[in-house]
């Protein structure tokens, strides 16, 4: 019996791995839809827009941030109804636009 334990452990790990693989493999998505912020499309026209989610105002809702190749970040606040406010530029404490683009 003792010698079978490693086999059982291996079997359990294999099953878990296969299940995880199947979960990921079987993920299905709806057809993509464009996301809006205010009355505009989120990130439209930005150079390589890159979204990230973070609750910036502590209201319990994840807000959306868009970084771009120029090194700027905008954010739009998630409203209670699930929509987003218009995009605003992310600034430092002095009110200067946060700028990752230094080349």
């Amino acid at each position: 019996m003792q010698t079978q334990l490693p086999h059982l452990a291996t079997l359990a790990l294999t099953c878990a791995t296969l299940t995880s693989f199947a979960f990921a493999q079987g993920t299905q998505f709806a057809d993509p839809v464009q996301v809006s912020a205010g009355d505009k499309l989120l990130g439209k026209g930005r150079m390589y827009p890159s979204p990230a989610m973070h609750d910036i105002n502590g209201d319990g809702r994840l807000d959306v941030f868009i970084g771009d190749l120029r090194g700027h970040i905008t954010y739009a606040l998630r409203q209670a109804d699930g929509t987003f406010s218009s995009e605003m530029k992310l600034k430092d404490a002095k009110g200067k636009v946060l700028d990752f683009g230094n080349w």
Binding site: F21, A24, T27, F29, S50, P51, I66, L69, G71
Partner: protein, 351 residues
């Protein structure tokens, strides 16, 4: 650049880490309310963390170095190391020693690299070399070259998986970008992350959309998040969509107008070329500084003329575009809603 919200320096506040086009990762430190201006993340020797190509701030030009051999000494095909240009980076505790290492994405070769931190989050000591990240016994590689990386527990097994997205052919008709996840195949006891083969979440785009944009086709930048609050991870994806608007059935008058607009456009383009040629001819044979000064003066002298030509060209192009729509390439942000409810991973703290 893909912003990652993470407590990089371990002070309890979320910072923003991002690999940017200058070829190195940066961090904007947070104080709980706002963030400071970003700074380069340096290695233990005080050097910038790069693959090969980087923007040299001293010479103010693109440069390349072998200091940071992107393969970490591992020869690639033909014995030659791949030339790398880092544009994406995420902080992730790769070796579970309690501090953040950096995972780096290469938008030139499509490989993924690791820069270990031998220090702590408070006093990082990043190694001077990159290590090639493996998926099984092969290097992790996106044939579309890496647009960005995300660390996410996609299959909710308590281990961080790696999401890798592709740039794809950015302008042409060749295959576009997709999104794949590499599941962490290790166990909670493993001291290093181990990854399996790529599992496609969004297939690389075949492009060819007609009439309207239908998906992000190149330069895909995903974020995994439970967007609709139904308990599984959806994908929010930025990128360029490429499509061909429907051709219009032009009237005879409109066809005549298009013909005239194109002739006018050619005339404006010729005038622009003549103006520019004259400017550059006037500076031929001059030394670098003298030429720069003369060019500046020349441009100032004809700035109103250039602006007028540019405005006319823009107006003509816009009118032609309305009558004869050409292929479009515009960036948007798209939501892929997860329907399967099979993945509801945790991205807290490390995204």
């Amino acid at each position: 650049m893909s912003p990652q919200f993470v407590d990089f320096n371990g002070d309890g506040n979320l910072d923003i880490v991002a690999g940017i086009f200058d070829g190195s990762p940066h961090v904007a430190l947070g104080d709980g309310k706002t963030w400071s201006q970003p700074k380069s993340i340096l290695d233990k020797n005080g050097a910038r963390i790069v693959l090969n190509a980087f923007w040299n701030f001293d010479s103010k030009a693109w440069d390349s170095t072998d200091r940071c051999d992107p393969t970490g000494g591992r020869p690639m095909k033909g014995g030659q190391p791949a030339k790398g240009h880092l544009t994406s980076a995420i902080a992730m505790d790769w070796d579970r020693d309690g501090d953040f290492d950096l995972v780096l994405g290469d938008h030139r070769s499509g490989y993924v690299y690791l820069r270990r931190n031998a220090g702590s989050n408070q006093k990082p000591q990043f190694e001077a070399r990159n290590e090639l990240v493996m998926a099984g016994d092969q290097p992790m590689h996106d044939p579309g070259t890496v647009a960005t990386l995300r660390a996410v527990d996609w299959n909710r097994d308590g281990l961080l998986d790696l999401m890798v997205s592709g740039m794809g052919d950015p302008y042409g008709t060749k295959t576009g970008g997709g999104v794949a996840v590499y599941l962490n195949t290790g166990t909670a006891d493993d001291k290093i992350a181990k990854f399996g083969q790529a599992i496609s979440l969004i297939a690389p785009s075949k492009k060819g959309a007609m009439n309207n944009p239908s998906r992000p086709d190149s330069g895909l930048h995903p974020e995994a998040v439970d967007f609709d609050g139904d308990g599984d991870l959806d994908l929010l994806v930025g990128g360029y969509s490429m499509w061909t608007p429907a051709a219009k059935d032009l009237t005879t008058e409109q066809k005549t107008e298009v013909k005239k607009l194109k002739a006018d456009l050619a005339e404006v383009a010729a005038a622009q070329k003549k103006t520019m040629d004259a400017i550059y001819k006037a500076t031929e044979g001059l030394g670098q500084d003298e030429r720069a000064a003369k060019l500046k003066k020349q441009f100032e002298g004809v700035s109103s003329e250039i602006n007028k030509l540019n405005k006319t060209r823009r107006e003509l192009s816009q009118r032609i575009q309305k009558l004869e729509p050409r292929a479009q390439r515009v960036s948007f942000t798209w939501l892929y809603e997860n329907l399967a409810k099979t993945a509801s991973g945790d991205t807290t703290g490390q995204r």
